[in-house]
């Protein structure tokens, strides 16, 4: 379990995060949702260990990891632009970490993962020949072979479109359930957060505005910001889609 206690982060005089208290259970998918500048990437960096908090503590499975180095934490990350090694093939990227830690995954486990991610046909391709969805799956696979106890996903779907977005969404959920993996997703898209997560942490100007399940957020928005940013935005989207459906059905009937 990951536990954040009174986390504060300041950059010189600017407070980016203030008194963040959060508990993430093992196997849970949690989304950190917020607008640009709300502090979500800073929170991700603090969990990963790229930044140290100005105040408060971070615990993982009962161990204080506030000052533990990034590489010593049992976490891994998939960056928004995937950060794949451009001079290696898909397979070489996927198995990159096994050169250092062979014990992480067996050959059979790697093959199973490749199958799960539908990457069999693309293993020998250089990175620039892969589509965005394929790159996303390679990046995901590269972290999964290392068997992290917590996986951080930085805007995982922002570069994807339509059908690929939906299939990656399903893939992430499938992997999380199958491997009982704790996943923290950073996103600015309410729809993404609501459809993927067990729990959503809504950040507003460095503070937690609400932390609840998607259903609770939609039914009981805790403040005006959550209502405006999530509920109303999705309601407008829903209305627009409904209108298009109704119009198309009328036309089809006439």
């Amino acid at each position: 379990m990951l536990k954040l206690e009174n986390i504060t982060k300041k950059f010189q005089e600017t407070t980016v995060l203030e008194n963040i208290n959060l508990e993430i259970e093992s196997g849970e998918i949690v989304s950190i949702l917020g607008q640009s500048g709300s502090g979500k990437t800073t929170l991700l960096n603090l969990i990963l260990g790229l930044e140290e908090p100005s105040g408060g503590e971070i615990h993982f499975d009962g161990r204080n990891i506030t000052h533990t180095l990034m590489e010593k934490r049992p976490f891994n990350i998939v960056f928004q632009d995937y950060a794949l090694f451009p001079n290696l093939t898909a397979y070489q990227n996927l198995t990159y970490g096994l050169r250092n830690k062979k014990e992480c995954s067996t050959k059979a486990e790697v093959d199973e993962l490749i199958q799960l991610l539908n990457l069999e046909k693309h293993l020998d391709k250089p990175i620039h020949q892969l589509s965005c969805g394929q790159k996303q799956r390679v990046a995901l696979g590269r972290t999964l072979v290392m068997k992290p106890q917590l996986l951080l996903l930085d805007e995982p779907l922002s570069a994807l479109d339509g059908v690929i977005k939906e299939s990656i969404k399903e893939k992430i959920q499938e992997i999380a359930r199958k491997l009982h993996l704790t996943i923290v997703i950073v996103t600015h898209d309410p729809e993404e957060a609501l459809t993927m997560s067990d729990k959503i942490v809504v950040l507003d100007e460095g503070k937690i505005a609400q932390c609840s399940s998607p259903i609770e957020i939609m039914s009981q928005a805790s403040c005006h910001f959550v209502e405006e940013f999530i509920v109303n935005q999705l309601a407008i989207k829903q209305q627009n889609i409904q209108q298009i459906f109704q119009q198309s059905m009328k036309r089809a009937a006439s």
């Binding site: 990034m70 950060a83 050169r99 250092n100 620039h128």
Partner: protein, 421 residues
Amino acid sequence: MRVEFSLKKMISWIVLAYPIVQIILTAFSQTDGGSLHIFNQNWRISFGNSLKYSLAATSCSTILGFFLAYGNNFTRINRRFLKVNESILHFPMLLPTITYGFVLIYAFGKQGLWSKVFQQELFHIYGSIGILLGFIIYTLPPIFILINNSMKYLDTQLFIVSRLMGDSWYRSLYKTILNPLTRVLAVAFLQGFFMSFTDFGIPSAVGGQTPFITTLLYEGFMGTIPNFQFGSLVALTMLLPSIISILVLNHLQKKVVRYERPRQAVIKKNAVRDWCFRLLFISLSLFILGVFAVLIIIPMVTNWPYELTPTFNNFARFIQDDSLILTLKNSLLMALLTAGFGTVIAYLAAILTSRERKVHKLNQVIDSIATITNSIPGMVLGVAYLLLFSGSQLHNTLLILVIVTIVHYFSTPYQMAKEAL
């Protein structure tokens, strides 16, 4: 065996290999009129000195340039501090190399500023130390600019990924920073090497009794008894290193890493690292300021080092001298025209070679020209243009100076633009 004749091989043969074969044939031929024994002891010592000092100084400059660029990009040092230091480090580029030699003498020579301040000579400026210092000051700014420029476009998220994948810090540094920079480091090194190898100003000012290939060349072209034939042969032997450099650069071209969307990751807090780099920047900036301070102090005293009363008379005399003002105007006009046209040409060439894949042969020619022109001393290029345009309408005009200077300095802006595109 299939023999491939590419345009590049032909150019390499015509421009480089053929003249060199001719030189070798000339050098070993024994005619009655007395052959030009180009590979005599004098040439061997001069060539060896140029090679030795250029390699040593450029190695130092490349290492320093890399650390400075690293400090500039991968630390949390205040941006304003870095900007000020960067400007100081660029400053020597604004002056001709012969000035470096003289400022070194005025700073560290027997009557130099710092010898007076410390009441003793800190080191003997004529010979090894003077030449090395001069070459380092000369080559560090362009080397630093080249490396710094490329380092800005590295995908630093890869360093984090590499660390998370279990690579050690050194391996991560190698895989994600040094390896993608291999070509630019080689380009910077070769650039610095040729700058030193073909420089005449520094060896002539602080070289002392140490002969260099460029001083030998000067004797050939402009010595008391000029010998154009010998001078030309010396110049051609100076092309030897450029053959090796073309081969190295072509080999490294295969290693170029092109990022789709390079991203800058958060730089971790590390006070010790930041202080080490601060000290490096401060000490280098202070050294450069210390050396070039004499340029500001000496014109403001009556007669350095004998009469140190402050005066503006030297400036007044300069302003009143019409011939000096005319010289200044001519230099400014030539520099402006060279910079204007040169930038456009270098940038267009870089766009062509880095973005346009269809004209592969032409790109190879441009690359070869950039390497070859960089390795030809300015003096040789000047004489070559003089002979080439002799009798034409361009002879004795400002335009010929602009053309030859653009050709001479084409390499650095071209390489910089190419690495960034």
